[in-house]
């Protein structure tokens, strides 16, 4: 079966997507990392962080994935750019029903802080 990943994290940029032949049981974090895409899995895929946050492009495909449990939802709550069809990549396993699944990698930015607006210029004496 096939899954497609839009690797480009910038907003509003359609860009290319990569298609991968995958097998049942492969999870999206492992698929992305095996193919050298820019997806972190800081906790090693154990649902203890939000760095593998992905966005499912098709709402119907999103519904075909078993619902996230409290643990996953708790981690998703911390993810930047959370959407209605967000999941943790490490928790989404490919099944025949998900053949053709297309996902996007969200923009990866830190939390905004006051210092983001009008920062101090670096020193040039």
């Amino acid at each position: 079966m096939v899954t497609s990943i839009h690797p480009n994290r910038e907003k509003n940029k359609d860009g290319e997507k990569y298609n991968f032949e995958v097998s049942e049981g492969d999870n999206l974090l492992d698929i992305a990392q095996a193919n050298d895409l820019e997806m972190e899995g800081a906790c090693g895929g154990s649902c203890a962080c939000s760095t593998c946050h992905i966005i499912i492009s098709d709402p119907d495909k999103y519904d075909a994935i078993p619902e996230p449990d409290d643990d996953e939802n708790d981690m998703l709550d911390l993810a930047f750019g959370l959407t209605e069809t967000s999941r943790l990549g490490c928790q989404v396993k490919m099944t025949p029903a998900l053949d053709g699944l297309e996902v996007k990698l969200p923009a990866m930015t830190r939390n905004m802080q006051a210092s983001d607006f009008g920062g101090v210029n670096p020193k040039h004496h």
């Binding site: 097998s23 049942e24 049981g25 095996a34 193919n35 050298d36 800081a42 708790d74 939390n111």
Partner: protein, 537 residues
Amino acid sequence: MAPEKLCSAACHHAFNTTRTAEISIALRSFSTATARREQEQSHSTTEHNAPGPAPRVAIIGSGPAGFYAARKLMREVHGTKIDMYERLPTPYGLVRYGVAPDHPEVKNCQDEFNQVAQSPDYTFVGNVELGRDLPLPILAKHYHAIVFSYGASKDKEIGLEGEDKPHIYSARAFVGWYNGLPEYRNLKPDLQAGESAIVVGQGNVAMDVARILLSSVEALQKTDLTSYAIETLKTSRVKHVHVVGRRGPMQAAFTIKEVRELIHLPGVNFSPIPHHLFPPNSKSLERPKRRLMELLQKGKPHDPQATKSWSLDFLLAPTHLDWEPNDPNTLRGVTFTRTALSDPSSPSSPVSNTPETTTIPTSTLLRSIGYKAEAIPGMDRLGATFDARAGTLQHDGTGRILMLDTPAPAHASPHAHAQGDAALYCAGWVKRGPTGVIANTMTDAFQTAEAIISDWKRASLNSASTLHHPKRGWPGVKTQAAAEGHRLEKVVSWDGWHRIDEKEKRAGAMKGKPREKYGRVEDMVEAAAAGGGGHVH
């Protein structure tokens, strides 16, 4: 040296699995990793720089900020040489000394850090404290860039009279104590003084402290929580923990995973939160806050068999400590002023005091109102300014403190920053303040690394740039330190850390735990020595 891990796939995709899915992933990952490695090894020049000396970077601090910055630099500018300075003999920063022992999966990022450390371009310089063992300005001439990523080594005080007396602890110290931080090996918290403890502050550190105080010792004994702390917890009389906050549920700093875990702790009751403290229309809140309010409002059914309990006590600001009349060193209670929120539904609502006060009886107080970074002596000579009020280094917003090739100031003293000296950067808590989880620090470290890489691209186009001059890094630092009379005898290398690591794991295996941490620096140093012994206690 430990065998290098080539494949970036999780190790549970073992080759003895019969699942073709996992084998195919593992094989693809393996071939990608070997192809990348071959590419790296065949390049003596880099994509970004003209042929020339490899950039040399000193990273101060070996926690997530330092390691993620190092990883990005080494991946994107092939040949970058990193020397990572760490004041302890052991690496990983708060991943080792902050993350709770019952949250081992959070420490998995160490696997990534280990992969960085395997590179021949990476050198770990452990047990060297800059500003104390080694003057910081010595680094200036031996690197193209210095990155400050040493986090926050102090905590904020409430400012109460008597806060330095017995039975008052910093949560940071308590966490360090049970996690084996040598600085707090002898904290000896008195958990027998009474049945109640108050934690002031409602962030995730407060959650960890409450959970460790209330969890069954049987469960904790199988973790890497230090044995000396287990012994103390075994005799603890603490039965109720008040986790007290100055503001309300919508403003508290804890995150939902940690609260859920505490609420569902077996054998521990959770006091219901008064309904009027919640926003009236929680269904219209954004998802993270909505789920959190729902969780807090739902609480947990009271268990008459439970012997322990905890509560979230909101809208209370501590004003003074009450001591036993007969013994000024025995805590009797804490008096609070009731506070009021201007806008209870807003996460950033201002809060003010009311005339009302209340006293909560307790024998033990832990303050958990935030960590605080401090400057390294000699920073100003290098050209960095530490903002003591903010607790952060001054930078341009992305982590740049001082650019490469910056001329020396006019009328400068001989020891001030010179034109060919290292550029300065910062990453992590010392850059943004001491908040956020590992994922936030990781993203921040990537941002600093991107700034460095972009600066190098520009510098490489300038034929006069210092970037084209080779720098000696740690060997140069050692030579200059010796010449100036500084003795650096017990530097711990990555191999030395590996020896400490192996001994800790073996000592832990005998007790059915992942590791038994060394609690003293001298024992770590002894264990790090080749052929060294070292008793774990």
